[in-house]
């Protein structure tokens, strides 16, 4: 076959995509959750090389006794090599602080769902030019290194959010653990996650045509989940060696970016360099779609809402969608389930009554005989 010497030019597509995305910029919402004192803020500062928490006030123990969870958002624009990223970090101060932590995770679930609702509304609107994506793309969940694995509170939180957000479990302050302790704890956590059927973010498999090095790196990274991290805002300058970001102890210095000391590099590479886009895609294609489907399904069922609002949803205008509709999806489902139960119980009751009557008449007959 004659080789075609003519050049069409669509090989330039990737470049065009690159230019467009650079121009558009990226936005990413990262949630950090876990008990106080596990190094969350320090890690965020280390990851993005900023100081996001300068003005933070930590409450006293007595103030924490009945502290409820609040959601705090901090935004920062970071730029590197011409690429702009609008990063939003969502914090959950107060998580696990009070003596009674029952249901303390509900505000977080509510928050994540609200972002989905907002997007659903925007997506169904007439003017879709400037949709702001405030959905949470990833949740870094911090596990304590001082215990023996996941605690009941950890499990409760993860189960409440695992179908709604990409979870990446992380062991905070990992410099409390010797290497073999780290391995044991990681294995324990992995086992517990499987036992409790908690779905964490799954790294996609690499393509078979990638080179061996990349595959090896990828496999290593997958095996080191949950990431055991150490964060630091200090740069340690020891005499002869080069300055490193680390924590200085009397017995040595932990280097944050040393892969033998902790998994910080792995986490950063995965979160920022290789999988940021995938996290956004999974959030959009899987988690958001799941939410949207269950929302619309519950609206389309008979008895849930009247005809008029149903037809309204298919020809939309953001202002016409009755606002309280979406949040009630869950309660509608519950109501329907309860109705079903009631109906079943009524049927059973009737059956039992009929039986009783029968046996009564039989009894009467035998009495008279």
């Amino acid at each position: 076959m004659q080789q075609d010497k003519e050049y069409v030019g669509f090989a330039a597509l990737p470049n065009q995509l690159h230019r467009k995305s650079v121009k558009k910029g990226f936005d990413f919402t990262l949630m950090v959750a876990g008990e106080s004192g596990l190094g969350k803020s320090t890690l965020i500062n280390s990851l993005f090389l900023t100081n996001l928490y300068e003005d933070r006030q930590l409450p006293e123990a007595s103030a924490r006794l009945t502290r409820t969870l609040t959601i705090e958002r901090r935004g920062v624009e970071i730029e590197e090599g011409g690429i702009k990223v609008k990063l939003t970090v969502v914090d959950t101060p107060g998580f696990g602080d009070s003596v009674d932590c029952s249901d303390c995770w509900l505000p977080v679930v509510r928050f994540i769902e609200e972002q989905f609702e907002q997007y659903l509304r925007d997506e169904s609107g007439l003017n879709r030019k400037n949709i702001q994506d405030s959905r949470v793309h990833c949740c870094l969940y911090f596990i304590s290194p001082f215990g023996r694995g996941l605690r009941p509170l950890d499990v409760a939180f993860l189960r409440a959010v695992h179908e709604k957000v990409n979870i990446i479990p992380v062991i905070g302050k990992a410099d409390a653990l010797m290497p073999k302790e780290t391995q044991a704890l990681k294995q324990k956590i992995r086992d517990q996650l499987k036992e409790e059927e908690i779905n964490i973010y799954q790294f996609p498999d690499c393509d078979s045509d990638e080179d061996e090095d990349f595959k090896r790196q990828d496999a290593e990274m997958k095996e080191s989940i949950p990431f055991a991290v150490v964060g630091s805002c200090e740069v340690v300058r020891d005499g002869g060696t080069r300055p490193v970001r680390g924590r200085r102890y009397s017995w040595g210095t932990v280097e944050v970016e040393n892969p033998h000391h902790c998994d910080f590099l792995n986490l950063r590479r995965m979160l920022v360099q290789t999988h940021l886009q995938d996290l956004k895609e999974v959030t959009h294609d899987l988690l958001y779609e799941g939410y949207r489907a269950s929302c619309l399904q519950s609206l389309a069922r008979p008895g849930a809402r009247d005809r008029t609002s149903r037809s309204k949803l298919s020809r939309q205008s953001a202002t016409e969608i009755p606002l309280p509709m979406l949040p009630l999806a869950e309660t509608e489902k519950l109501i329907r389930e309860k109705d079903e139960e009631l109906r079943r119980m009524q049927e059973m009751l009737e059956k039992m009554q009929a039986q009783m009557q029968q046996s009564q008449t039989q009894g009467e007959q035998s009495d008279t005989l």
Binding site: G37, R67, G149, P152, G252, H260
Partner: protein
């Protein structure tokens, strides 16, 4: 018997009563000592490891999981010996502390346990035939409270729990797993904790500074509270010696190196200097408080409204009589109630019996009536049958007569024709 003024006399020779302390020591040593430590802290914080490290031995135990439904206390006793001194050591652990989602009741089992040991001692003390010298004292002498090394402040659970325990036991707060706190952060963390304890009115154990021999060391050590400790039973080669340590890729933390952590200080304070004072404080302060509260609850007072001292015996007698009187009254009540119930039941039964009889009579009557009806009908039927038979017979007769006359007629007719 008047209280005379004590006069100071000087001796002209050596009598020998300066051996009294030695006699005391010898006696105590031969009896053996007993010490009870309570370790309060979250699962996995290092309680067992620290005990192993402090006493240079491996106390066997299964590590607990985070899935305990509530807090429970586990006590284990061990016999240790060093030189010629025997120590009966009891270590009490709080299993499941800090794991539940709702920790409102977490402190309760701990308080109950401490009170139970006081109660046991009180009971022994109040016995008529008692053997206090032989008594195995299970009261908690020291409570090591393990604070998690968050670097921020105390947790809310810590505050609540320590407030409930500070009037019942000698609390010694320690920072556990301290090899996670860098030197510059440690000082800030320690002062934050101490100021929080003070501002919330938590009374921790004060190392005694009244006795000259220990005043100095206690004073210097107190400055370092809460002690930041690291525990380890594994040994690592340092130089040419083996030492208890934790080996990290970035360095080795030596447990007994005072630059690395306060383990040595804790051991010094807890065991080598103040163990006896801890026991004494437990008995003279915490136990006395418990005893006083308990007896006041029971109604005992030291002085009556006229400020005359009550004798325990009189009070006891009075209480006893009161109690017996109440018992009797209750017994009477119960007896009366019993009698009443019996009467009620009897009446019920009689009613039921009467009803049964009536029913029986009714049935009998009905039966008889039915029987009579049946017999009447039978008679009627028989009569009818009889009538019928008669009619039948009559009819037959007529028929045969008719036949006969008919036959006769034809015969006559026949004869006439001839």
């Amino acid at each position: 018997f008047e209280n005379e003024e004590l006069r100071n006399l000087s001796l002209s020779g050596h009598v020998g009563f300066d051996s009294l302390p030695d006699q005391l020591v010898n006696k105590s040593t031969s009896q053996g000592f007993c010490f009870n430590i309570l370790c309060v802290g979250e699962t996995g914080i290092g309680k067992s490891t620290l005990m192993d490290t402090l006493f240079n031995t491996k106390f066997e135990s299964d590590p607990a999981t985070h899935n305990e439904p509530g807090v429970r206390l586990k006590a284990r006793s061990y016999e240790l010996q060093e030189s010629n001194v025997r120590l009966k050591l009891t270590i009490v652990d709080t299993v499941g502390f800090g794991d539940q989602i709702n920790k409102d009741d977490s402190y309760k089992p701990i308080v109950e346990y401490i009170d139970a040991q006081f109660e046991a001692y009180l009971q022994e003390e109040l016995k008529i035939k008692r053997s206090l010298f032989n008594y195995h004292d299970t009261r908690i002498h020291a409570c090591l409270y393990f604070i998690a090394p968050t670097g921020h402040s105390l947790k809310s659970l810590d505050l609540v729990t320590m407030k409930k325990l500070d009037s019942k036991v000698n609390i010694i707060p320690i920072i556990a797993k301290a090899d996670t706190i860098a030197k510059n952060e440690l000082h800030k963390f320690k002062s934050k904790i101490m100021s929080e304890l003070v501002s919330n009115g938590v009374q921790i154990y004060q190392f005694p500074t009244d006795e000259e021999t220990v005043a100095e060391i206690n004073a210097t050590m107190s400055v370092h509270l809460p002690f930041a400790v690291v525990g380890s039973t594994e040994e690592v080669k340092i130089g040419n010696k083996m030492a208890k340590a934790r080996q990290y890729p970035w360095g080795v933390v030596q447990v007994e190196n005072e630059n690395h952590c306060d383990f040595v200080k804790l051991r010094e304070m807890l065991i080598r200097v103040n163990m006896e004072d801890l026991r004494e404080q437990t008995h003279t302060r915490h136990y006395e408080l418990y005893r006083r509260c308990k007896l006041e609850e029971m109604g005992f007072k030291d002085t009556d409204p006229d400020s005359k001292p009550f004798s325990l015996q009189e009070t006891y007698e009075a209480k006893r009589n009161e109690f017996l009187g109440e018992l009797q009254k209750k017994e009477e009540e119960m007896r009366q109630m019993f009698v009443m119930r019996v009467k009620e039941k009897e009446a019920e039964l009689k009613e039921a019996e009467k009803e049964l009889h009536e029913k029986f009579d009714l049935l009998k009557r009905t039966h008889q009536e039915e029987k009579k009806k049946v017999e009447d009908k039978k008679k009627e039927l028989e009569e009818e049958v009889n009538n019928f038979q008669k009619k039948k017979a009559a009819a037959q007769l007529l028929q045969s007569q008719a036949q006969q006359s008919g036959a006769q007629q034809t015969k006559k007719d026949k004869d006439k024709k001839k």
